[in-house]
Symmetry: C4
Subunit: 191 residues, 4 copies
């Protein structure tokens, strides 16, 4: 089965997710800079979601570069990933509107963890389909970034009980780690 439509559908859904948050940013009434400052939490939320979706799109792009076919299980795993990602704008909005209170931050950590797990499931479904000798298998072998992210989100949940901003710091750290272009798969493809 061809991978093109899976990519096209994923691109469509991700493009909409990324722009849901900017739709929420309504122009304020007054023309003063102060009127704009009310929107700063919404702007930060939008920036965060834009970066998160961009990272997932980027990784998704790298992942499917290495594979040549998909099956029903891959479609299912991909659907689950898209569902998890589609919850991020909602949870980010809840977190932003409550000034990073404990409960929304815990839910955010939960949704980010679920997204990371969904991505891992997708990766393993693809490896199972392509065999242990595949380019993908070798590229992913020592998936340090993936393991650090998952671990970070797990730790972020209890840490939110000490102070929610510690967890938010972790979310930011993971995002910055992924923003640095990933050369792992690019190198494996060249070999």
């Amino acid at each position: 089965m061809n991978k093109n439509r899976l990519e096209a559908f994923s691109d469509g859904v991700l493009a909409i997710i990324v722009t849901i948050m900017v739709l929420e940013m309504k122009a304020p009434r007054g023309a003063e800079w102060d009127n704009l400052s009310e929107l700063i939490p919404k702007f930060i939320s939008y920036l965060f979601i834009f970066i998160m979706v961009w990272i997932y799109w980027n990784n998704h792009h790298h992942l499917f570069q290495t594979v040549h076919k998909v099956n029903g299980k891959v479609l299912l795993a991909n659907g689950f990933l898209l569902f998890c990602l589609s919850l991020q704008p909602f949870v980010t909005a809840w977190m932003g509107e409550n000034h990073f209170a404990r409960n929304p931050v815990i839910l955010m950590a939960g949704v980010l963890l679920l997204s990371a797990i969904a991505y891992t499931i997708l990766t393993f479904t693809l490896i199972k389909l392509h065999g242990s000798d595949s380019v993908l298998r070798k590229a992913i072998e020592s998936d340090k970034k993936g393991k650090i992210s998952t671990l970070a989100y797990v730790i972020a949940i209890p840490l939110a009980f000490i102070h929610p901003l510690i967890s938010c710091g972790i979310f930011g750290f993971v995002a910055i780690m992924w923003l640095i272009p990933d050369t792992r798969i690019e190198k494996a493809l060249k070999k």
Copy 2:
């Protein structure tokens, strides 16, 4: 005529339909878990629509894997299918906001039935174009799942008069049946 644009346009429309419902989930004001619980019906509605659209996208994807050309009638049948699917978010929202009252559940059964019929029409239009010896024809021969679904939606309408939740149970049963990856067409393609 080439099938690529029909696939691209369908992917675009389906990607939007799938995300209409998540746009409806507005972040609640308070930061307590109780504030979140008000959104559970909307969340279930979103989950249901996501699964339904994913199933149709999945089947649509399988269907067009087996064909190589389209004509004006296929475009028309595909347009009718997209229109039926685009009504599902609206009816699901009506059903969810009225706590699964009888009338919305009957309308839901009607729209689901209409979507199933539209999909069947699309299948037959494609078979007619490709001839009775086509891969598609053989793959679809004993379309058990399709027949069960259509029958289930027909039965769901009178059963809603006994109790609407029986019909809702049927909707859930059909969705789960389709979520299990379909190997019918995959096998036919391998032969």
Copy 3:
């Protein structure tokens, strides 16, 4: 220059235009059939826009089947067409909310006429690029449907002063005429 991205961008914009109207259909509060009947004008508006956009997508699809390259002027003509089409949901909503009063119907005729003109400009820009011996040139030679549509929209403007519903009847007539699959280009391609 390659035509693929022009098609992809157009598909994206058209997919959004087609679903703008369904976003406007909010679920009514009560669970009675009467509550639903309030939405009938919005439903008819949505159905009309869905059909119009589908027709333009369909014709756009046929048109670009016959061509192999695009230039800057084609991109400009295509952008103008998309802009005209993007105004249709707004004008349809204005027409529907005012129960087909004279002014909204006149504006509707104007926007439909502008869209038809934009499509004609796009066609001629493509013919100019591909030369008078092209498949497209021959296929379009006796563009009866296009001429009838343009003429019908022109006539619909003064007729709205007699009664707006006459103009609405004309809009419906043109839509039905186009819904019948167009075999003109399909035949020319076969030769």
Copy 4:
């Protein structure tokens, strides 16, 4: 790495950005022409954003015509460009609702300047990847339009303190300059 998905994702995001503004144009209550005139500022804002996004899409299209591969840095630069462009509808709405007051106009100039810088970064990232002998390098050599645009946006910021409409005039001038089809890259490809 393949450029197709970068193009598809960009097309999806741009298609949504272009239609955000038309979603804001709600049908007025009355059926008189006067009721429509209230929407003129929103219409002008929509027209401006449509033209701006079309120009960027057009240039993006030309740019990627000349390249055959992308890397992680290109994906990052492209993501930054899309983020800048996604802020334009919001700022345009703020500007329109405050009748082109000084502060919104300054912010508009800032966002337009940022978008121009993001586009320049994307161009240089692509040139660095493809080498100084590439088609792209030669085509872009004397990028007069790009330099004039950036300079114009820089000048528009202080000029807004004299009168905001001078800056708005500059925005319009730059838009019209780009609307004229760009033959630079087309010619370089022919050689």
